[in-house]
């Protein structure tokens, strides 16, 4: 009888210590007023400080690639809106070059699809692409998990974040989501003007007016994107032969249609378009200004833009008000290993 009491006592103690060891700190997201409701289901992956820090470490760790040479951050650099500066196409291990321009990572919780063709239907499974793509990290999920499990730090960090030191594909992907769901850019000059904390210059004001007339049917405020896929009149690159959305739907109507990316922080996310063919915002605006439409071009572009040189400059001035310095240089989003070294 006495033995049983001891046993119950020990079990209670074990459960209690487990409870103390697995205690997460909530990290609620600040959703700006008047913004739409996020699409991401936080109930399935509640934001925590422990999860965020684990995801952040993974994001900057080249262990995710086959030869441990590149990390997520290799193609998603914070100061350029987590896009791949100066690279038309994403890069992989052993100098391999991918098929598409790495997208900026920001405000992803408002997206219901990912990648240029929208082939990915949930943020949690997006990271499977770069990890397993032979032209990018060229690794298998099984291998990544084996490598992580053998490390000293990771099993403990997974335990802190998820209450188990047994790493699985599910937890690895949820950990990466824990980091990227916090990458939200909502404090650009544009936002301050909307909140009446700042004012546009005359140039920016004119640019905003032009934007509303010529751009906003696809790049819709406040996220400056849309959930549709559009053909913006770019001729097919015969080398890449990328048909975009059609690869996913199999529908010829979707040929050469691509995601409408957000314009937030576009001052720094160059080069532009799915294949990075334009190096500057001026080149992008010139494309729309001179666009020769055909029957496949999205209907929003059928009216020619024909901006004067001055108007083009003003439009760029407005686009620069979408730059969110606080986001681009937020130390919480930077490489945690670098911080440790600096200390």
């Amino acid at each position: 009888m006495k033995k049983r009491v001891y046993l119950i006592g020990i079990i209670c103690l074990l459960v209690l210590t487990g409870f103390i060891l697995y205690h997460t700190t909530p990290m609620p997201l600040k959703i700006p007023a008047l913004w739409p409701k996020p699409y991401y289901d936080f109930a399935q992956n509640q934001p925590t400080v422990e999860g965020f820090e684990l995801g952040r470490k993974l994001f900057y760790d080249p262990i995710l690639s086959r030869d441990s040479s590149i990390s997520c951050a290799s193609c998603h650099f914070q100061a350029t809106g987590f896009a791949h500066v100066d690279h038309e196409l994403s890069h992989g291990i052993e100098g391999k070059v991918g098929n598409r321009n790495a997208l900026a990572l920001q405000n992803l919780i408002w997206s219901d699809n990912f990648m240029w063709d929208g082939g990915v239907n949930h943020l949690d499974v997006q990271a499977l692409n770069p990890i397993t793509n032979p032209l990018e990290m060229d690794e298998t999920m099984g291998n990544v998990i084996r490598k992580l499990q053998q490390q000293k730090s990771y099993p403990e960090l997974f335990n802190k974040a998820f209450g188990t030191s047994k790493i699985t594909g599910q937890l690895l992907l949820k950990a990466l989501s824990q980091f990227v769901i916090q990458l939200n850019s909502c404090n650009a000059k544009y936002d301050k003007v909307m909140r009446k904390e700042a004012a546009f210059s005359v140039q920016e004001e004119n640019g905003y007016r032009l934007f509303a007339t010529h751009c906003s049917s696809c790049h819709q405020e406040p996220l400056f994107n849309s959930t549709s896929f559009e053909n913006n009149g770019l001729p097919l690159d015969p080398y890449l032969n990328d048909l975009g959305r059609m690869k996913i739907t199999g529908n010829p109507i979707d040929s050469l249609r691509f995601k409408v990316p957000s314009l937030r922080n576009c001052q720094f996310t160059a080069p532009y378009m799915h294949d990075g063919r334009f190096r500057s915002l001026t080149a992008v605006i010139k494309h729309y200004n001179q666009l020769i439409v055909n029957k496949n071009t999205s209907h929003q572009l059928h009216l020619p833009m024909r901006l004067s040189d001055n108007d083009r400059v003003d439009l760029v001035a407005f686009l620069k008000t979408l730059t969110d310095i606080e986001f681009l240089f937020n130390p919480n989003f930077s490489d945690p290993a670098v911080l440790v070294q600096e200390k």
Binding site: V125, M141, L173
Partner: protein
Amino acid sequence: MTKFNCLYLFILLPLALFGQESNSLFVQVDYNHSPLILGETYVSQKGDSLRINKFKWYLSDLKLHFTDGRSASIGKKYTLLDADSLATPVYKIADFKNSSTAYMELSIGIDSIPNTQGALSNELDVQNGMYWAWQSGYINWKIEGTSSSCVSTHKQQFTFHVGGYKAKQNALRIVQIPFPKNAKNILHIDLATFFNQISLRSLNSVQIPGNAAMQLADLFTKSFWLE
């Protein structure tokens, strides 16, 4: 000890004799009515000489329909099976109470709900290699191997990764299989039936959702039978 014997004699034994007998459902992968051997050379009725190196598939929503109109779900909601790791040729996948069973119903693949729920666990974990990266969704079943008929593919490989959950790409197949008299409760999947229906020279690689995948899914259903 005596206590246990009494219990056995007076309660468990009569139950076992007169009550509902517990039973098990097994699965067995065959090629032409014999257990499949991975890497073995087979010849299909179409004349293709072929070797199967990999066969993985999801079985889900197993359900028994009884002669009195009742039905019962058995086993796990989703079971991932791999021909390479089945411990024995005849592999147990579920238990059920014996009753007069008319037919069995099962799904080959994963229904649409988990396909849109992101990263899931256990049988549905992406690390099982049954989830597409570039286009979200589960691979319902995959068969890989080589054949001298595959003259146009790398290393003469054939690769069938069949899946797709969206309306016009749905490759999930629900099959109903009648229970034979004196059933041994072995669900057979005879891959010969599949390869006898296709010509590997012209059809050797399907790895995306769409019409071809849906046609293969239809053909695959014919490989299932109950012993």
